[in-house]
Amino acid sequence: MAANNFRHALFCAFITLIISYPIIGFNLEAQGINVTLTGADASTIVMVLLAALIVFLFQMFREQIMGGLKSIPHPLPQSNKEPMAENRRAKIESWVLTGIVIFALFWPFLVSRGSVDLATLVLIYIMLALGLNVVVGLAGLLDLGYVAFYAVGAYTFALLSQYTGISFWLALPIGALLAALFGLVLGFPVLRLRGDYLAIVTLGFGEIIRILLNNWTTLTGGPNGIGGIPDPTLFGMEFGRRVKEEGNTSFHETFGIAYSGEHKVIFLYLIALVLAVFTALVIRRFMRMPVGRAWEALREDEIAARSLGLSRTAVKLSAFTIGAFFAGFAGTVFASKQGFISPESFVFLESAIILAIVVLGGMGSQIGVVLAAIAVTILPELAREFSEYRMLIFGAAMVLMMVWRPQGLMPMRRIHIELKRQE
């Protein structure tokens, strides 16, 4: 056993060496027109060796270390206690949630413009993650191309505003419906696939949309993207310094207050908040409706679900379409917030991050997903100093999370249904 362990640890350390040495230990330097390869200085080599040593030690004493991790008290100390009475818990939960939403309404007036901007982004991710939660968490369909629907929503608004001058409020439902339509159309051919195959095909579809946007230069402007996307208006009041469109008034003049760039940011934040709450409520209703139960039944046991008269295609398509619908929502808000979009905003990494949020939060759990969306969006901002290592930290956090709490931050709780005895 010990010898085996030693060999394994040695092997891991060796792997660390051959991976990290060429990457970190050599530098390419331009000298005039030539590029020369120089070795790194002594301190870097020492660091590489140190890293190998750490890997060696960790693998050598892996059992003990992991055992130690387990003995750390559980992150939720109450998890072993008797659960609260169902109706009391539901009541407290709804009070807390209402409180959070009310707090979120007033919050932007207390903090800086930068944090409001970031919070808007968080809300967009919350919408996306809640939508993907339907597809992955509830229906159990691994969708790696979710960002495509986000792109459809964003580009719908951008293109329509560019060619027809449509307003944000009209674009919002159109973008969402068009994204849903894409979900429906893309869903048809792929939904007979399952598991890994489905993941690969959706990944492909996601890339197709992005590449199409990138290459259809005449329509979408290709990699140059589309700019000048209008901001949302409040009953015909614009938030810019000067009114851009005939017939509109400007917000600061109507109310006789000094112009401030913050108004627009806060307004966008509030729109995103309302839409995110709307998304959460609608999906929450869906989860308690026959369609939501059908999604879960299909995830749990497809054969049993079919034997009870559930049509596989209809159920899966509904999940796919509804998920896409909310991605379209998020996309429209995103386009309006940025004022400029390009295919670069819709790369595979975005899909991966949204998926990570869902997994991290706990599949199917709405509160968990919201928490995870906040964590995943804000943590990288806080860790700006180590910007180069952000993905590394992100990855490490994911691994730790999966070891420690594989069911996610807040695993899904089943709703409690009271039944009366029938005579």
Binding site: E86, V282, R285, F286, M289, P290, V291, R293, A294, E296, A297, E300, D301, I303, A304, A305, R306, S307, L308, G309, L310, S311, R312, R414, H416, I417, L419, K420, R421, Q422
Partner: protein, 251 residues
């Protein structure tokens, strides 16, 4: 009400079911028995639409149903259970029964979102039906448990209840007594008889437990190596030489 005519099912070179015929009248319990690997479950899979039979006809209430998709067959009123219990194990017991009533309350999304009165009535009705059947199989107190955490015998009963809330005309049970102790088997026996007597459901039964089969069947079909061997009342089957040979081996 159900008529299976010369059903054949071929998997590549293997003829799993060869010209099997059987029929089920209303208000009747018909059993299919046979040694392991005889093709009983394959017959079931063809009847419930999981397999598309390579030959023969299946008529349900005069309509040809062979080759129809499984969910359509189930909507016609032919519902089955499985040899290995297949519950939605992470969902609660009630939710399992609610899923099964999907067809009854297939309202559109909007009416559910805003909870129209008709949606509420339907939802309440399905809850009542679920409560009734849970009470009937003795699981009402466990209604909000996760189905996967139930004891095996309870899971078996839940599976039958889940079929019954769909209000089937014909119930197909694939080895419902497998893994049950004698007391549970006896309860099951009473339950199946009551399904027939009180709820007017016909039952097709695959079973190895001979005491159960002989007790409750009106008629028995014996299949051996994919071929029909004999059919008749329990008394006739008990005395049939071919059947005894197939079960005990050639002496």
């Amino acid at each position: 009400m159900l008529e299976v005519q010369n059903l054949s099912m071929r998997f590549g070179g293997l003829l799993a079911v060869d010209e099997v015929s059987l029929d089920v009248q209303e208000h009747e319990i018909v059993s299919i028995i046979g040694p392991n690997g005889a093709g009983k479950t394959t017959v079931f899979n063809c009847m419930s639409g999981f397999y598309k039979p390579t030959g023969g006809k299946i008529l349900f209430e005069g309509r040809e149903v062979q080759g129809k998709p499984d969910y359509k067959i189930s909507r016609l009123g032919m519902v089955r259970t499985f040899q290995h219990v297949r519950l939605f194990s992470q969902m609660t017991v009630v939710e399992n029964l609610l899923v099964a009533q999907h067809r009854h309350l297939n309202t559109n999304l909007i009416s559910g979102l805003i909870k129209t009165p008709s949606y509420r009535t339907k939802e309440q009705k399905s809850l009542d039906r679920a409560a009734y059947w849970l009470d009937r199989v003795g699981l009402l107190d466990l209604a909000n448990r996760e189905a996967g955490n139930l004891a095996y015998g309870q899971q078996r009963r839940l599976e039958i209840a889940r079929c019954m809330v769909t209000e089937p005309k014909l119930l197909m049970l694939d080895e419902p007594a497998a893994g049950l102790n004698p007391a549970e088997t006896k309860e099951l026996n009473q339950l199946i008889v009551s399904l027939k007597e009180d709820y007017n459901v016909s039952v097709v039964l695959i079973e190895h437990d001979m005491s159960l089969v002989m007790d409750i069947s009106d008629r028995i079909n014996v299949i051996n190596q994919g071929r029909p061997l004999a059919s008749g009342t329990p008394e006739e089957i008990r005395q049939n030489d071919d059947v005894i040979k197939a079960y005990l081996g050639e002496a």
